[in-house]
Symmetry: C2
Subunit: 359 residues, 2 copies
């Protein structure tokens, strides 16, 4: 770690000493409830397990694990918040279960080189990867997780979809009888230089979302996170003003107990809004798009040079005619229409032969 | 102005170059609508008037004045936002009416030493006085306002009331089946060092509010703003956990047109929430209070030493038995009960003599 990384890391941990950040995260009910459900719905699994909580903060996830019957929980928190976590653990009478450790997970040693059954962590940043905390979880996995150990969460996915952004465009065009569109222009010019964290209404999505990437956290390496890219093709499902690229993530938790269902924490515009909101790349110029129209772009997320906890997100609009489309594709391009027709015919043949055999 | 003030002033104006601050203010509908109504409901008055807009920002108030028929509007804006205001003025075809001036009102000179009929300004900060922008409005008044000129707004009042603060106290006591009260303790310890800007629910007020001060802006001087204090007595109207002191302000606009009503912009918990929210002094220890109980405190707002745009707010809880109570007072202290009894008797005597004369 060079001095730049040290500085960035110090500032990073200091930012989590702010209680209001923790209030925001705890009060994010979709987030807190997802972890609570993922853990407390599996008391058979958690019973007697050893858990490592990476970046424990106020200790809430450690407490859930203790409530679920864990034998031992190591709550590792590098910021000064660890002393608060300790007090909260005491208040809830879990001091015999939860050991709060004020250190980074990179530097921590567990007593007697103990290995753990479970790693819990809430490491997700804006657009999933901002903050680079997943690297610490992967380090913890390689150092401490038993071969059959579980990660909570264990799978994460990043999605994108084209959208309208009325609050950046239309909103100012008619404002109390005045035209403030210059304000919108200026705002978009400024937004153009960095992604915006904002709430996108599900009705403002213009096409079904596409997967940018899915990470199986048992297999992912830090190197995999340096650069993520995807070329994507969309078919417009609702005509409108195409003004931005909306990005969000889901993360899902393992279900090990027989009757447990897989819990998914989604930051999609279709779900209850979370403190992560959505990430939006605001297009410098809008385009009017119609139903069935194909859209395409290449999305590249790359770790920032100076600050490895930040990413540069680049979106290049592509000519959809030159891109490979999914099969079947619902767009209006002749090739996709033809394929659709062939598939339909084939399905009809299959149907009638199937009906024939029934007679 | 010494160098400290220069630095503070520079940073102050830079803070208003952030478009998102203006989005927040414009989208504060109570605020925008109050100014719009105060101005546009009086087109007879505004017609042909010369207006000065102090700290014009995006120029919205200047535009309202132009819409109301003003002959000339000087929109003075010291930050770089003035160029945006200029573009917005052009878009709305008011360039012949509104002249945007990129300067501080302290340094500006109007063409031919013109005097103005109206000064409009949205200068209010948190708890009214934060930011110290009122001083600039008073300077503008003394430099530019005609003797019979009007200030929009022209009267402001500061209020306070005792309140419960469930989000700082109760919220953490039972959180997803856990006791996070240590987090609440820590948060309150931190809040103790500075007032908090937060939304207080009207149902959490424990007594009718009292006036801290009322300022008639035609008469107020900058010196009056250096220190504001008030000793206040409250009678608890609803039993509950007394956990904080809630402060807010109203400001009201002149009604000059015959059929115009006086518009009041209120930031009270009883009204639609604004971006000013309420200012809260969180008590380090809560007290349980019952209906009729008297409460008293002294509130002192004093300009901060290093940064004259900031205030130190000090609240000293007083022994209500030693304070002078209003007459009549609804509290349970023997003296106030006695006075109430005497007044009641007196009113009965008046009533019966009044009834007697009717017979």
């Amino acid at each position: 770690m060079d001095s730049m990384e040290n500085k960035s890391t110090k500032e990073y941990f200091q930012s989590y000493e702010d209680i209001s950040v923790h209030r925001l995260m705890l009060d994010d009910n979709a987030r807190t409830q997802a972890y609570k459900q993922a853990i407390l719905s599996q008391v058979n699994y958690f019973s007697d397990k050893v858990v490592l909580d990476v970046g424990a903060g106020t200790g809430i996830l450690s407490l859930f694990c203790a409530q679920a019957g864990a034998r031992k929980v190591y709550a590792v928190e590098a910021s000064r918040l660890s002393s608060l976590a300790e007090r909260i653990v005491e208040t809830n009478n879990f001091s015999h279960i939860i050991k709060v450790i004020n250190n980074t997970v990179e530097n921590v040693c567990l007593p007697e080189d103990e290995k753990v059954d479970v790693i819990v962590s809430e490491w997700m940043g804006f657009y999933l990867l901002h903050e680079g905390m997943l690297d610490s979880v992967l380090t913890a996995r390689d150092k401490f997780l038993k071969p059959d150990g579980k990660l909570f969460p264990d799978t994460v996915s990043l999605y994108s979809a084209p959208c309208s952004l009325p609050k950046f465009y239309d909103h100012w065009e008619e404002f109390h009888g005045l035209d403030l569109s210059s304000l919108g222009d200026e705002e978009r010019r400024l937004k153009g230089s960095q992604p915006d964290i904002t709430e996108v209404n599900k009705d403002d999505l213009l096409a079904s979302h596409q997967l940018v990437c899915e990470l199986d956290l048992y297999k992912t390496s830090s190197k995999d996170l340096d650069s993520i890219s995807s070329r994507q093709v969309f078919t417009v499902s609702r005509e409108g003003r195409y003004q931005g690229v909306c990005i969000w993530f889901n993360c899902s938790f393992p279900s090990i107990d027989l009757d447990a269902t897989r819990v998914v924490l989604s930051t999609s515009p279709h779900c209850q809004q979370t403190h992560w909101k959505q990430t939006v790349l605001v297009l410098p110029e809008e385009m009017y798009v119609i139903e069935g129209e194909p859209l395409a772009w290449e999305l590249i997320l790359e770790r920032g040079g100076d600050d490895w906890r930040h990413y540069n997100i680049q979106c290049t609009l592509l000519d959809p005619e030159e891109e490979e489309h999914p099969v079947p594709c619902g767009c209006v391009l002749p090739k996709c229409c033809l394929i659709r027709e062939i598939i339909d015919k084939h399905m009809q043949t299959l149907d009638s032969s199937h009906l024939g055999s029934q007679e």
